[in-house]
């Protein structure tokens, strides 16, 4: 295959009319290419494994003139977020990326970016938090930022990372809230696979230039960052909530618009795979979803009605679609690559809460698996489904495949 030409037989996977070229590339670089296509003006980031190659690539692209952006080097993730808060305040489309402890260090300013209504887009490579040190996949970093006012999206493939970053800018700039695009450490970040790079003029059509209503401009001075007294603050919080709720309608709409122009669709708030008649529903996010597809197919081949609900969006939480989709099933298994200590897996907890007001509630089990990058194999997922089928009452927390004696399965 030469650049720009798609090998015969692959046209159904990569639309030749919308694709500039197919790069065989890693998840981190898929994010970098998306940032270039989005014509981002300011990039500021601090390196942390496994995110580093996102910004390494971007700094190369800036240095070579491939993209026209300012790359601001900083001494910490806290400063990186501060930089993009500043640049977004001037109306410049901005980007940063981080992982794990780096995201934790940004925490204070994540609130600020959302409260100041700045449409920053950040890629977070989901990595476990220390102690002890661990560089591998785990969603505890992003999920700990649940209440900061950031939209949170989760990708399953490198292609979805690229498409999601472009859609994230559209969403962020429509609702004036920051968006975090998450990908699993190594299972995406360092995995090389084909990624279609869309044509720039089509991306420009989908994502036009950004020009906010209010911005810092010395020719048009305004006051920013003022004090909001008790008679004002609550309404500003209400506005954030309304914008978040608006995102529930916008995310599927933007995905459809992307599909109309770029000819690719990964689902809206969720992706439903064989859920229509599913008695047993598996709920996943990130790369566990891909492996689950294979296991769901295997159960279907045996005549057992298993379906898969892929969560693409964590904040805002898509309560309505979850109620519709999960409400049809008899039993639900949620697999979490994260844990809220003293409670359960975090997606599980949200799902369970979303289903509470249904008249007929399905049985729901929470499974924690794959923390700190441990492999979640087809066999792990098969065990989850078999356990669910046999379950007589719901269990909030079931640990999968622990290496020492416990009540795990």
């Amino acid at each position: 295959m030469e650049n720009g030409v798609i090998t015969a037989g692959l046209e159904k996977y990569f639309n030749p009319e919308t694709t500039e070229e197919v790069k065989v590339t890693e998840g981190t670089h898929a994010a970098s290419y998306a940032v270039g296509l989005a014509r981002v003006k300011v990039i500021s980031a601090y390196p942390i494994t496994p995110q580093t190659s996102i910004v390494e690539k971007l700094s190369e692209m800036c240095a070579s003139g491939e993209i026209d952006a300012e790359f601001i080097k900083v001494e910490s993730e806290h400063s990186a977020m501060a930089c993009v808060i500043g640049s977004e305040s001037t109306g410049a489309r901005s980007f940063t990326a981080t992982s794990s402890q780096g995201l934790a260090l940004m925490h204070e300013e994540l609130h600020w970016a959302a409260g100041a209504r700045l449409p920053v887009v950040m890629v977070n490579v989901n990595r476990a938090l220390g102690a002890p040190w661990n560089i591998w996949a785990d969603q505890s970093d992003s999920l700990a930022q649940r209440d900061t006012g950031w939209v949170q999206l989760y990708a399953e493939s490198n292609q979805e990372v690229l498409d999601m970053v472009l859609q994230a800018y559209r969403l962020a700039e429509e609702i004036m809230l920051p968006v975090m695009v998450n990908m699993d450490a190594f299972f995406l970040s360092h995995t090389t696979e084909p990624v279609a790079i869309p044509k720039q003029h089509l991306v420009d059509q989908f994502l036009p230039g950004y020009n906010p209503k209010f911005k810092m401009d010395i020719k048009d001075p305004r006051a920013f960052g003022g004090l909001a007294t008790p008679d004002r603050y609550m309404e500003l919080r209400y506005n954030i909530q309304k914008s978040m709720e608006g995102a529930l309608d916008l995310i599927p709409k933007i995905a459809d618009e992307y599909d109309a122009i770029i000819k690719r669709h990964h689902g809206g708030l969720v992706e439903e795979y064989l859920t229509e008649d599913a008695e047993y529903l598996l709920v996943t996010s990130g790369t566990i979803t891909g492996t689950s597809r294979i296991v769901v197919d295997a159960f279907r081949n045996k005549g057992i009605k298993v379906g898969l609900l892929k969560m693409r969006v964590f904040r805002p939480f898509p309560v309505k679609v979850v109620q519709e989709s999960a409400g049809r099933a008899k039993k639900i298994a949620v697999i979490d690559r994260n844990i809220s200590f003293g409670q359960s897996g975090i997606f599980f907890n949200e799902l369970k809460s979303a289903l509470y007001n249904l008249e007929t509630r399905p049985l729901i089990n929470g499974y924690v698996a794959g923390l700190g990058g441990r492999d979640v194999t087809p066999s792990t997922i098969e065990k989850v489904i078999n356990h669910l089928i046999a379950a007589e009452k719901g269990e909030d927390l079931i640990w999968m495949e622990l290496n020492y004696e416990s009540d795990e399965i």
């Binding site: 090998t7 996977y13 065989v24 560089i135 190594f186 360092h190 090389t192 084909p194 294979i294 979640v376």
Partner: protein, 192 residues
Amino acid sequence: MIEIRMHGRGGQGAVIACKILANALFREGKFAQSFPAFGVERRGAPVMAFTRIDDKPIHLRTQIYEPDHLIILDASLLQTIDVTVGLKPGGKILINSTLAPESFNLPDKYEVRTIDANSIAIANGLGSRSTPIVNTAILGAFSKFTGILGVTAIEAAIHDAVPIKKEANVRATHEAYEKLKTDPVALMMEQS
């Protein structure tokens, strides 16, 4: 789906080899997914990298436990790690070594070939004499051994994915392709 597991040591280029492999396979109209098993990366430490090949998009995202074929970049790993663990019967094992395939005493259910990729890499100025970068040479031999992909695709992938010494890497691929002995008569001659 075909699954390949590569064993090497940090610095030999296993990770880049799998990237080149994925790139080359895609050029031949196949879907490919490759990734390293990251441990505590340091020069000389054992590393593993994986490549999956299929005619359709690959959804499976786990390490490879039951590979179809193995590539061993450092023969000394055979003494310390059970490299054949999970390898399917009939699997092909390509070893970077000056020794004959029989000298490794691997089970008969596997097909074993060796290639002196170190000498080829050194002759082409790839890496140093003590740590030659053997990844592109081994891919040339792998191409001939398995027929899974052609050297032309590997050559194009090297041009795309290798930042420096592109021509030297391409030469190493071709030389290894030429040198790998697949003819049973030639193999017997070598043993005798």
